[in-house]
Amino acid sequence: MPAPVKKVEGRMAPLDLADVDTDQIIPKQFLKRIERTGYGPFLFYDWRRRGNFVLDRPEYAGASVLVAGANFGCGSSREHAPWALRDFGFKAIIAPSFADIFRANCYKTGLLAVTLPESQVRHLMDLVSEDPTVQVVVDLEAQKVRGDGFEYRFEIDPFAREMLLKGLDEISLVERHSDEIAAYEKNRAAWLS
């Protein structure tokens, strides 16, 4: 059963780029593993290998909130992307928008994918670029991103929020409706077998 996620508190790391795709987050050569964990060292592998990558700067070490550009997580559906972000130490990602599959994968992984308007994300980006030690709270219960002198409300699908807050196992939830599934199965068209 996934652990409940209520609140993430910590420092931020900025990744000021739009359209960061899951091929960058975790390149394909690391999708050959059959485990669900252990992807952290390979997060943004190519970018980090080229040197001077923002996440490798000592001031951002240990950050738990990634602040990113629009359309974060686009491309491949690989859930290895949120696994890698989680394994690296991130517990929340704040961006102006996320690719649909990536966001769904984040929730399943227990990663808070939080959407804020572009201007507020820009503020966080500027804030952390000026002072990497700045603390932030991503409060799922209150649906707020808080820090010294600011408080931003975010919207999130209420069901996803509930799942995260309670750490519910989605399969168990669906299994509760086994009778309805069986009833549906009985009525399917014959050609669908």
Partner: protein, 458 residues
């Protein structure tokens, strides 16, 4: 009430609907491959669960299969992944088209060609290009591994209803302009995220006039502009494609299915949240210049000036300067393949450009058929001879250099004219540079050694 095609299919799959919860949808077809499934099977095992409907699940090996030399030429980890898939399928009783089988191939190519993909179905797969199957008037979308596990265990998936978008394409496609150019042109206009949170229906006379292959190419790339799914209402083109295929309904069942399938179109007056109009007659062949599919221009154009940090980064990565004519860009490699453009029609279109000509001496070009069946059919027509005589490598089926999980990769700095779907940094090999285009355009580039307007060669 007037309903969209998407709404009709959605409604037909609702197992349970409750206020404040996502709808619980039944999955008619769950396609599985070696890369995004092992953790899902493992999850089931750890929880003591079993696969609820192995009969509605079909697996293939595609992402990391070598395209020559068979399974033994795969690296150890890829082999392990294939073995694990085989074990998992055996244990669960899931049919598997493994490497070496005549039915093996890219999951989004074999679904349609085996007749598994049918109108009105809800289809999922742990792969973002699952939207391909929407070409049949199915609701089809990619899911992550946790969702794969949910579907394996329950054959259902909780889903929140997305919005509806219409893309209306009118006008005749000019000579040398293909379905790929429709979708690249569309993404160039909308950007990479305009489809987010939406089910897209491609409509209009141009779409109606496309073959199933062309419709699949367009639906395939729905995800590249952020859409959850892309679909085309089924019509006689769809029905004649499906009829007679291995898993298609037969006899009386066919007639019944057909009656139902004919109801699958958007009602007059149904509401869309937005509509995008595209004039196909004004389209030119398109080529990407950057590192997202949205960074795309007509081949007659020039590399544009950057408008953002993301653009500047793309130019640096692609080693291109603003203002350079696209047709001056020399290439090293050509890849004709992928779930976007490696069906028989695509290979025919490329071969017709290549016929009797030679690949430029500085170019290494390869064709990777989308499936073993496509390969066999192409060989029957002698297409392999056309490609080989021109200097192309003729390979076995798989995803291959679309994502470079197998040994087919670009070397750092190499520039590739590719019929695939993503030009992301390193997608085809770390440091490799990808230009996306149609099969005839890639074929033309192979002959000339640079990006070129195929219309000059036909």
């Amino acid at each position: 009430m007037a309903a969209t095609l998407a709404q009709k299919i959605w409604d037909a799959h609702v197992v349970r609907s409750s206020q404040g919860e996502p709808d619980l949808l039944f999955v008619d077809l769950h396609l599985v491959h070696e890369v995004t499934s092992p953790q899902a099977f493992e999850g089931l095992r750890l929880a003591g669960r079993h696969v609820r409907r192995p009969d509605l699940t079909v697996a293939t090996m595609d992402h990391n299969v070598p395209t020559r030399g068979g399974v033994r030429s795969a690296d150890e980890l890829s082999r392990k992944q294939m073995e694990v898939l085989e074990e998992n399928c055996e244990r669960a009783g899931i049919p598997l088209h493994k490497i070496g089988s005549r039915r093996q191939g890219i999951v989004h190519v074999i679904g349609p060609e085996l007749g598994l993909t049918q109108p009105g179905m809800l289809i999922v797969c742990g792969d973002s290009h699952t939207s391909t199957h929407g070409a049949f008037g199915a609701l089809a979308f990619g899911i992550g591994t946790s969702e794969v596990e949910i579907v394996l265990a329950t054959q259902c998936l909780p889903q929140k209803r997305q919005g509806d978008l219409a893309v209306n394409v009118t006008g005749s496609l000019p000579l040398g302009v293909t379905a790929k150019d429709i979708v690249l042109g569309l993404i160039g206009r909308t950007g990479t995220s305009a489809g987010q949170g939406h089910l897209v229906e491609y409509r209009g006379e141009t779409i109606r006039g496309l073959s199933m292959e062309g419709r699949m190419t367009i639906c395939n790339m729905s995800i590249e502009w952020g859409a959850k799914a892309g679909m085309v209402a089924p019509d006689d083109t769809t029905f004649s494609y499906v009829q007679g295929r291995a898993h298609a309904p037969k006899g009386e069942a066919w007639e019944k299915a057909l009656d139902y399938w004919r109801t699958l179109s958007t009602d007059e007056g149904a509401h869309f949240d937005g509509q995008i109009d595209l004039d196909a007659s004004a389209l030119e062949p398109h080529v990407t210049w950057g590192t997202t599919p949205g960074q795309v221009v007509p081949v007659t154009g020039r590399v544009p000036s950057p408008h953002s940090e993301t653009d500047e980064r793309a130019l640096r990565y692609m080693d291109l300067k603003p203002g350079v004519a696209l047709q001056e860009i020399a290439i090293d490699r050509v890849f004709i393949g992928s779930c976007t453009n490696a069906r028989l029609e695509d290979l025919r279109a490329a071969a017709s450009v290549i016929q009797g000509r030679r690949v430029h001496p500085k170019v290494r070009a390869m064709v990777v058929p989308g499936s073993t069946s496509v390969k066999i059919a192409a060989e029957k027509e002698g297409l392999d001879e056309v490609f080989k005589a021109a200097g192309f490598e003729w390979r076995n089926a798989g995803c291959s250099m679309c994502l470079g999980m197998n040994p087919d990769i670009l070397a750092p700095g190499e520039r590739c004219a590719s019929t695939s779907n993503r030009n992301f940094e390193g997608r085809q090999g770390s440091g490799g540079r990808t230009h996306l285009m149609s099969p005839p355009m890639a074929a033309a580039a192979a002959l000339t050694g640079h990006l070129v307007d195929v219309r000059e060669l036909i």
